[in-house]
Symmetry: C2
DNA sequence: AAGCATGAAAATGTATACATTATCTTTGAC
DNA sequence: GTCAAAGATAATGTATACATTTTCATGCTT
């Protein structure tokens, strides 16, 4: 069936463990926006010395999650709705560029294989009428594979790093597809087919526009769900938790 | 005359001094691509302990200048021509987005003032026929003001951070305008006038396309100068030094 | 001679002590 | 009672010692 494995996640060094622990705590809403993250507190909380804690905080600041002021330490950034939305705008133009570059360079055999696999897996998953939460979560993984493959085929590390940064913005992670309605999922899967077509057909401009609109549509869904929280409550659940 | 002051540059903490010192050393070509940057060596070289050195190296890695592997330290990244070129592609779509967002939001009085000042200063500078290196360097500062103001008016910190990251890629910094031919400088200044017009006139799509092409043209100039190094030797000078 | 195991050297990871800066509390003056 | 100054407290910045890992050289085995 699905030949796309889940990504591995190991941490050997303490710095990495602390990094993930603090990141998880932040995303779980355990800090207020603007709140200071004291090194010593985290130290006692995590049972390690200040050294790996400092390194982790610096990394999180470079990812945009924390603010840093010399001699004053780190504070949790607050993300306004505007910033979350513009993060999608940024991601849209970046992924659009990735699709264009990919179409210009052309895909290699392995990349074509992965994309076709992702398309087939999606087809299979959406074949039957009903879509459960499990389906959505599974589709989320397939979706990630599709996009990551295209980013990689663009051949620009800078571009890759920046897409990663976009995904570090709370609420703008691709796993949020879980929160979308069934029609949205089907529509997006059809987008994938067309985008693949444009890239394989070496149509850079079309690939860029399709991908751009594809990602921007996530933004629209988000705005829609924020406008009517009762209608699609699942979508705002995470958002509210993070803004608390 | 020119009411646009130069940016200030102070460093209070040692971490910052080390950061700038190492960054300057890298940009001056004092390390080979792929070469390791040993903490202890930098320690003895700079007369500080490993702590600020480690912090500086981590920062430089987050900016994309260094690679990091746990337990194995930092190495200087090598930037292929392709990567430098695609950095311009990225910058083009990002600045294009900034112009679009700026046109959508509209400029405030202060921003309009700064942009008009930049345009006037450019007009004055380019009025007389001859353009010296001093003129280019002066125009470079005016150019930076124009672009930075538009980034800021887009109102997205993520976008700002990413444009900054693009500029950290060697050879792709805006100060490279210095290396351009006279016709290029004049052409770009005219671009500025049209971009300003589009933003003030609240034409998001036009603003985006103009800005995108404006930045992409820098890429074209770079490619041109790389193709015929004898013709525009100044442009490649920095590039060769950094790739050595 | 090639390859592998062993151990020494050196580099990075981590903890901790001390220095410097920021923050808070207290005290005094008005 | 309010404000300001001074000291106390606590936080971050830096240096250094120790732990762990990597790397390299040495010598052994085949």
């Amino acid at each position: 069936m699905a030949a796309l494995p889940a990504p591995e996640t190991s941490s050997s060094t303490r710095f990495e463990s602390v990094l993930e622990a603090v990141r998880a705590a932040i995303l779980a809403g355990e800090f207020e926006p603007g709140e200071r993250l004291h090194e010593v507190k985290l130290t006692t909380l995590l049972g390690v010395s200040r050294t790996p804690v400092r390194a982790a905080l610096q990394k999180l600041a470079s990812e945009g999650l924390l603010d840093y002021t010399p001699n004053r330490g780190y504070t949790l950034r607050e993300f306004s709705i505007d910033e979350v939305i513009s993060a999608y705008e940024v991601r849209a133009v970046l992924e659009g560029l990735a699709a264009r570059l990919s179409a210009e360079r052309g895909l290699n055999v392995s990349e074509i294989g992965t994309l076709q696999q992702a398309l087939r897996d999606g087809d299979d998953l959406l074949r039957n009428g009903q879509i459960t939460d499990e389906h959505r979560s599974e589709y989320s993984r397939i979706n990630a594979y599709f996009h990551v493959t295209i980013h990689a085929s663009a051949g620009s590390r800078l571009l890759n790093d920046m897409v990663y940064l976009c995904q570090q913005v709370p609420v703008s992670s691709p796993r949020n597809v879980v929160a979308f309605e069934e029609g949205d999922v089907r529509r997006r899967h059809e987008d994938h087919h067309r985008i693949f077509e444009a890239i394989v057909g070496r149509e850079p401009w079309r690939a860029e526009m399709l991908m751009r609109d594809h990602v921007a549509s996530v933004k629209s869904s988000l705005i829609r769900s924020l406008a009517s929280p009762a209608a699609v409550q699942a979508a705002t659940k995470t958002a509210r938790r993070l803004r608390r």
